[in-house]
């Protein structure tokens, strides 16, 4: 797990989606009971990831959006493509 990417994603989620920082762990379920995001929030996540890392997540499978950790993994795998 790349902590630097995780931290950047966390910061983006806190700033853009207004998720309280103390509620957000790297493994928190973003769309589940933990944070409770919905499909509209995913648009902001995709745009945020694209701005931060230049990685396009449009059309990416749902499981990649599960947590900060899975998002970071996706970014790591697709960076520089």
């Amino acid at each position: 797990m790349n902590t630097e990417i995780c931290e950047k994603i966390k910061k983006m989620l806190v700033e853009n989606l207004r998720i309280p920082e103390d509620e957000l762990e790297y493994t928190s379920e973003l769309f589940g009971d933990d944070i409770g995001l919905d499909s509209i929030d995913s648009i902001e996540i995709i745009a945020g990831i694209d701005s931060l890392f230049g990685v396009q997540m449009t059309g990416a499978a749902r499981e990649n959006f599960q947590s900060i950790e899975t998002l970071a993994k996706y970014v790591e795998e697709h960076q520089g493509e």
Binding site: L17, R18, D38, I40, D41, E44, A47, D50, Q56, T58
Partner: protein, 251 residues
């Protein structure tokens, strides 16, 4: 540092604007001309506008007469009901004063001739089949630079004779960037030349002021339901005044 970026994606859509990094100062060029369009694009867009005015003789009604000027110098998100494939061209033409970028379903860009023509106009492709962040990023760039958008939040034409529910994604830009939503009701059957004039009623802006502790998505839902109610009421007003044009069985 300001990055001058020309956006030509795989659909070659016509958005050329200066993007600035968050927190950076806006340079003179960005302030002066935030959203640029190619010369040919401008000419083609003008041609479309004339054609729309000639064919459909649009009647533009403002709920409040001061709106015509007031909307000119500010960013806003126009949202309208969607009854016909011409709505995009019509909306873009009658709202030419505000130069809105129209959100167009990505599949239209894949049609050989139509796609090419759409790419010359002020349009942004949106993929409705999956969570698409690309349109949002482009729209953010436009709004941040003082531009406006025209969105059909139903996500498609009302084929079953009634206005569909408005999707909240359309209001997300508005919620995040505190840009007002302007509800518009499009009324008529696009009868060319001698038929009934195609009408558009432009409503009062719904101001966006997302509370600091509220998620943009939640606020966007509130905004869009207000906008939907306004568009329905405005459509009803037009139907009462001009008679039912039978676009919808119910609205």
């Amino acid at each position: 540092m300001t990055i001058e970026k020309t956006v030509y994606n795989e659909y070659n859509y016509n958005v050329v604007f200066c993007m600035q990094k968050r927190g950076d100062r806006v340079n003179e060029q960005t302030e002066k001309s935030p959203v640029k369009q190619s010369l040919w694009g401008k000419f083609f867009q003008m041609l479309i506008t004339w054609t729309v005015y000639f064919l459909f003789r649009p009647k533009i009604i403002y709920e409040d007469k001061t709106l015509k000027k007031a909307l000119k110098n500010r960013s806003c998100v126009f949202v309208a009901n969607h009854t016909h494939h011409f709505d995009g061209a019509y909306g873009g033409a009658v709202l030419w004063r505000y130069k809105p970028y129209v959100l167009v379903k990505k599949s239209w860009y894949e049609k050989p001739r139509t796609g090419k023509m759409i790419s010359w106009c002020r349009c942004i492709p949106i993929n409705l089949d999956e969570a698409d962040g690309e349109w949002f990023k482009t729209a953010e760039g436009i709004v941040e630079n003082g531009g406006s958008l025209l969105i059909f939040p139903e996500g498609g034409i009302a084929r079953e004779g009634h206005m569909q529910e408005f999707k909240a994604g359309a209001a997300l830009i508005s919620a995040k960037h505190a840009v007002p939503i302007v509800p518009c009701a499009i009324f008529g059957t696009y009868s060319p030349v001698f038929g009934m004039r195609q009408k558009i009623l432009v409503g009062k802006p719904i101001e966006s002021n997302c509370p600091p502790d509220m998620r943009h998505s939640k606020y966007a839902r509130e905004l869009i339901s207000k906008a939907e109610a306004r568009v329905r009421a405005m459509y009803r007003e037009l139907a009462d005044k001009y008679g039912d044009c039978e676009t919808y069985k119910e609205f």
